[in-house]
Amino acid sequence: MTQHTFLFQPKISEVMKNINKVMIGKEDAALLSLVALLARGHVLLEDVPGVGKTMLVKTLAKSLDCDFKRIQFTPDLLPSDVTGVSIYNPKTLEFEFRPGPILGNIVLADEINRTSPKTQSALLEGMEETSLTVDGNTVSLSDPFFVMATQNPIEYEGTYPLPEAQLDRFLIKMKMGYPTAKQEMEMLSKTSGKHPIHEITSVLTRDELVDLQKEVEDVYVDRTINHYIVELVTGTRNHQGVYLGVSPRGSIALMKAAKAYAFIHDRDYVVPDDVQYMAPFVLCHRMILTSEAKFEGTTPESVVQELLSTTSIPVQRNISE
């Protein structure tokens, strides 16, 4: 699956190199984060604490010369803690808006499922819109705006699982996973002295990043590819183990992700490989399985894998529309 043998787009290559200085064995996660960033999407990281979620976002933010904000979600966190609050200034006799952490470029929303749905939605609504209304003031969100939310696996005690409608707003949901023994050894030796995060510098300006995002929009997607995407997505809706299939928003997301992935690999057109690679990360969190399927051990991942292996790749143009 990994296609890192292919050449990266030169600027992305720089970013990847930077991240690899800090993160060990997390190329896939870094790559997916970049896909989401370039496609103007957001990432939901689901994993246990301590596997490097925060470090990944920090490194990304530092490499990109972006404003990095972090919100630690707790059960008593209020929406205004996310969006910001107007405070009365006795000097000017006016309410002054103190922007919350959501107004950064890269926002790490840590343990998002630990807080109440009310606070969650304050963040999630911001992710969908480009502006935010607080106390009657409309505040534009920064550009680029990239949220990386993390959540502990939902079986853990004291969590508020994200509703499906909210999950849909994340372009990608992924896991970090534990490093291998070798990677962990290397990691220990790297972090024994000064932490490498302090040594990296930014390799991409904010404007360059916005330009890249525009270029991604221009990546060409052929009808054959669209057809392939639609076949995959409708496949989830017709699958007998799926209670709720992937929405049309999912199709768009898959196309966007594939475009970004193609761009990262220095291609201005999408090939089926891009779609195949992105499909599990884009589609899995957008479907609900039936209880029977869950009971039988079917997972969204296995459904997507099954669809990928049964859907024919278009190798000719004459497809039936």
């Binding site: 052929d222 054959t224 201005d268 057109y269 090939v271 089926p272 859907t311 024919s312 790749i313 000719q316």
Partner: protein, 736 residues
Amino acid sequence: MMDGHNQGRMTFIYRFVIYAIGFLLFCEWLRPLETVTETEDVSVFYIYGAFCFFISFLQVQWWLSMPLKLIGMAFIIDGLYIGERIFSMEWMTIVYEQILFNAEVIQTREWWQMTPLFRSLLFLILLWLMSYLLYYWFVIAKRMFLFVVMTIVYVTVLDTFTVYDGQWAIVRTFVLAMLALGLSSFLKEMDKESISVSNFRKAHIWVLPLVLITLFSTIAGYASPKLDPQWPDPVPYIESAAGGAGAGPGGGGAIQKVGYGENDSRLGGSFVQDDTPVFKALADGRRYWRIESKDTYTGKGWEDTLAQPVNDVGNVEYKTFTDQVETEEKSSFIRMERGASFNKLVYPYGLSSLNEEIIPPGYRFRVHENTGEIDTVKGDSPGRLGEYVVRYDFPSFEYQQLRAADSEDPEEIQGKYLQLPDSLPNRVKNLAGQIMKDKENRYDRAKAVETYFSANGFEYTTDNVPVPKKNQDYVDQFLFETQYGYCDNYSTSMVVMLRSQGIPARWVKGFTGGEKIDTTANGDGDIQNLYQVTSSNAHSWVEVYFPDIGWVPFEPTQGFTNNADFYSDINDEDEDGAATEEDDSTTDSEIGNPQQVEDSASNGSDAALGSASDRSYAWVWWTLAGAAAAGLVLYFTRYRWMTAWLIWRYRRNKDEKTYEKAYTYLLTVLNHKGIKRNPDQTLREYARMVDTHFQTNEMRRLTNSYERTLYRNEDQSKEWGKVTELWENLIKKALS
């Protein structure tokens, strides 16, 4: 450790069983040889086959197995053909010379000259190779289905097209094949699932259902009703179209072509007409062209036990009758044609001399006194005389004389020509007795037997004539079971019946008169006819001994006329209306067979007609076969010629559609050649796979370009040259 050992043993046993079944199936290939070819003893081939299979199974190193197999081969060749002590200097010399001689023969493409030793040697080598091949198929690849199918096809084809009876062979093949396929599929399944035989505890239980199913289906198949053959025996059509020189009726008992042949030890079997010219003869009338007689009836055919004495003479004379027979001096000119495959003289009755003037120097003749065989010898080896003139005293037998002949035969004649095998069923003798019951003299008795066949509805045919089974007598089968057949059946039956009643008789081979193709007058003003004698005119008839007169030819075969001359003294003309015929060049006498009076000319033309219609059938057959063969060839080579055609086409059209078609075609070819692409495999992944397979990067380059066309909608016509080159290279690699 224990498990591993146990498993090893189990797999070994299974492998052995499978390979043993392979050998047994292979034996089914050898088995028909005895019936279909002239191979006398195939057991030696079984033994050598088993030997090779065994050594292959042991999988010893080549430096050990090769000498072993070679030594085995040497012993067999030694036992079969060479009298010298094995591996002695002389022995080596003989083998060396044989190989040298046969190598020459092969170079000159004179296949028929290959010696039996060399042919056996080649066959043994074939067995050797087969043992390797089957080891690979059965044990290593575990793919025996093809061989099973081939075996079944082989047996059915032999069953259909030859006298080989494949009924049980099919049953055996079926049982063996079922077992082998079951076993191998079990082993394959085990391999696939990575289950070791020993881990699978009750591993052996599964053998039971396999055996039961095999037994059940065999019995069901055997017992269930089956359709009769749905088409007539196709052999005659095919054979008639095959053409070529005749091997003679009575070769090894297989389907044969009519013609003169020397081996009559197993008579029977169908044969087909063959119009290959054998010789032309200039004569004033139709004659029997005699070659030889045979004396010993074995129950299956004729053997020649009286070959001696042989007189090596410069000129020849051979008379089968005494001076009491009236004769007329005549001469005939004979020119042998290319179709003649024997080095013997054909001569009319009463041969008195050859015109030496036109015989090339160096030719000698060896006359076999008893049989009348006259070998032509040039130097020390047999040589065929191209043309010669025979002078002969043409006999005319007088009825009264024949009827009055003394029935006291000389002892010498009795000793030689009353032989019959012990196995001859009594009913033959009884029938003979019945036929001759009321006849008083030898001539009438012989005549009674001669006419018996036509009077009792015996049918003349060359199709579907069976070969007697193992415990069956050739004559008995004809007289009581089939009641149809051709000259060999009739003549042999007549000889046997006469002998059973104490009348000395012998079986004679040669040719009938042939077809008149021209009439000329010679210098003396005598009319001479030119007769064309073909392989179809090969014939056998009967000679009956009459004391003081000699051997008199009789013609029992349905539809044939006796070419010998009989007459009555005017005074004695009291019976036998048909006996008035005088020697007539076009109408020969047909005695006692009035309803079947048939001139051999019409007989000849019948044969010609028959073969003509055969040929028209053959035409259809061959066209169909040709079309089928062409179709098959086209089908199997479809990727090659389609590629050639597409390359030609793609070089001209440079549009996107062509590109797409070409690329898809490449995928098809690769798929066909075993590099399979799953439908969910992307072109890049597949390209990487293909490149790994061919050790190139061409498929990746081509695919990159194709992807730009397909997924980028980009025009690639600028790169057309490069793309076509890549495509052609890949196609060629795939097809090589």
